[in-house]
């Protein structure tokens, strides 16, 4: 019987991704102007928005892999869906943590039950429920099938969250980059945002890869 040594969870690509995030933060801190109306708190934008967009990408991977699993019953798709689900929860947690800290000085309140915030909190609960469900079902076939259905339903929330600022009266600002018109950020700020978005998306994908390797490690026998 041949056996392959499991690939390491932490490797050079993860180190590169962490360096990319650190580089983006250096640019945000030292090479990006302070906004006149909000002051330094506006710089929370550069981690808050990339965090939720990364969460959307991770949840998109969960949904696509769940559909692949329901169709082909391929364990690799289920494993990748689980990995991306955990990372989606991490990035949604960052979004829901940084948002109130930004809201307090600008809106005068940590939280408001408006559509955008409430739907994002609901997405967090559904993502957490996805992971709890996976932990609660022992049979791999049932676990994969039930969680895949929940994941596909959870992803349907994303368009509602994005469009909620158009559909409902809300305190949350309209999109200033992801909108039909041109972005309304000044060029320096837009460049910083795009660098930060690229760094966090890269970090998100590399984290999913690391988490996938952890899942492999859990299933494969270790070669001494």
């Amino acid at each position: 019987m041949t056996s392959t040594r499991p690939r390491p969870v932490f490797d050079w690509l993860l180190a590169v991704a962490i360096l990319a995030v650190v580089g983006a933060i250096v640019r945000i801190a030292f090479f990006t102007p302070v906004e006149l109306l909000q002051g330094a708190a506006q710089k929370i934008y550069y981690i808050h928005v990339p965090a939720i967009l990364s969460a959307y990408v991770a949840l998109g991977i969960v949904a696509v892999m769940s559909i692949v699993y329901l169709w082909l019953h391929d364990e690799r798709a289920d494993r990748l869906a689980e990995s991306a689900g955990e990372i989606a929860l991490l990035f949604t947690t960052v979004t829901l943590s940084t948002g109130p800290i930004w809201a307090k000085p600008i809106w005068g309140a940590w939280w408001t039950w408006d559509a955008r915030l409430t739907l994002t909190l609901f997405l967090w609960f559904v993502t957490a429920a996805y992971l709890v469900l996976r932990g609660a079902v022992d049979d791999p076939l049932m676990r994969g099938r039930y969680s895949a259905v929940l994941a596909v339903l959870a992803v349907l929330l994303i368009p509602f969250i994005h469009l909620s600022v158009y559909l409902f009266r809300t305190l949350h600002p309209m999109p200033i980059v992801l909108k039909p018109d041109r972005p309304s950020l000044p060029p320096e700020m837009l460049t910083t945002f795009l660098i930060s978005l690229a760094a966090f998306l890269f970090f998100c994908i590399v984290l999913i890869r690391a988490r996938y390797r952890l899942a492999l490690l859990r299933e494969e026998p270790v070669v001494p």
């Binding site: 932490f10 109306l37 909000q38 002051g39 965090a51 940084t98 970090f203 984290l207 988490r211």
Partner: protein, 38 residues
């Protein structure tokens, strides 16, 4: 000309919280992989 409001404490707090969450997750990955490799 007006100067921006002093909101630097919120800026620092948000980055510290985000950093702690990401670092915490990396530590959890490391801990779980270490436990599985034993």
């Amino acid at each position: 000309m007006t100067s921006p409001p002093d909101t630097i404490a919120y800026y620092h707090a948000a980055y510290i919280v985000a950093g702690a969450l990401y670092a915490g997750y990396l530590v959890s990955l490391w801990w779980r992989s270490r436990r599985l490799q034993r």
